[in-house]
């Protein structure tokens, strides 16, 4: 014996399925076109997004490169200006910059790092001026006083 509920559902489905089979031609064509329109719209939108993003990315990259280059140039310009200014305003002779500056720069770095300073101070003091002991009585002059950045005044003769 058939279950009346199942028969009822089956009849309903049958009638509804038949109704969509019997759609008039115009409606059937229109319904059939909907999916193509939806898929086309989506494709166009995504391609528009891609092609819209390409020029924007190119422009952004160009701007980054340009700004970065300008910033680098200006920084280099500033640092070279400062060096020139410090050379011009210094009281040292030009021979000092030509021959001895590298040595003093190295020395300055070593002292700045303060690595095993006590040993180094002892060695240096005996080497340069036995009567001048760094850190014991005579205060190191501030580097700004000598006009050259990073070179302690005590080692400039």
């Amino acid at each position: 014996m058939n279950d009346p509920n199942k028969t009822f559902d089956k009849n309903i489905r049958q009638v509804l399925n038949q109704s969509i089979e019997d759609l008039d031609l115009e409606t059937a064509v229109k319904v059939g076109q909907l999916k193509y329109h939806a898929l086309d719209t989506s494709r166009k939108r995504s391609s528009r997004l891609v092609w819209g993003a390409v020029p924007a990315t190119v422009v952004a990259l160009l701007l980054v490169f340009l700004l970065n280059g300008q910033q680098k140039n200006s920084l280099q310009q500033i640092s070279s200006d400062i060096t020139e200014l410090s050379i011009l305003t210094a009281t040292d002779t030009l021979d000092f910059y030509a021959e001895e500056i590298e040595f003093y720069e190295w020395l300055s770095e070593v002292l700045e790092n303060e690595t095993d300073l006590s040993d180094l101070r002892g060695d240096l003091s005996t080497f340069f001026a036995p009567d001048l002991v760094l850190g014991s009585g005579i205060k190191r002059r501030n580097s700004s006083e000598c006009g050259i950045t990073g070179i302690p005044g005590d080692f400039r003769g």
Partner: protein
């Protein structure tokens, strides 16, 4: 995706037509649903597509009703006659084909009967019934599509079935 749309497009159209009683509106609802589905859910697993598509369609139908409610308020405000001739949907959709006239008449009659009874149901009962009985969505999927609880789906489905059985008569059982 195209095959999926092919498999559900006519049912979706009929479902929308039951809800809004106008062919062009139903076409718009289905098209909008398809566009949104492609945009939002095409990356989801295929097994979930049907439930998700009907969820979008139900949202569109709800939006349609909201718009209609606002429009009818404006019509009342301006004193226009809100009774527009909807026309017999069956007559609009009928397509004379090479069928046995008796069979065709019987089919038309049955569909007309079913349509009339479906339209007597509340929108929620109608849509729940169609999604469950025709589209074969589970209670859970129907609840997701209709944005309601599973208990509500069961209640709507039961009441709709009972009312349809009662009104359609024994010949449907």
């Amino acid at each position: 995706m195209e095959n999926f749309f092919k498999s559900i497009e006519r049912q979706a159209f009929r479902l929308a037509l039951f809800a809004c009683h106008n062919r062009d509106d139903a076409l718009d609802l289905v098209q909008d649903s398809m566009c949104k589905f492609v945009d939002k859910y095409s990356q989801k697993p295929e097994s979930e597509w049907k439930a998700l598509f009907y969820k979008i369609l139900q949202n569109k139908i709800r939006d349609f009703y909201r718009r209609e409610a606002i429009r009818s308020r404006w019509r009342v405000w301006f004193g226009k006659n809100s009774e527009e001739t909807v026309g017999d949907a069956l007559e609009q959709l009928a397509d004379p084909r090479n069928k046995n006239p008796e069979q065709e008449t019987e089919e038309k009659f049955k569909f007309s009967q079913l349509q009339t009874e479906l339209e007597k149901l509340s929108l929620k009962q109608q849509q729940v019934f169609l999604l469950r009985a025709w589209e074969g969505l589970s209670v859970k999927e129907t609840a997701q599509a209709m944005k309601c609880s599973e208990g509500t789906v069961k209640t709507h489905y039961f009441r709709a079935t009972e009312q349809l059985k009662k009104n359609l008569g024994d010949q449907w059982l």
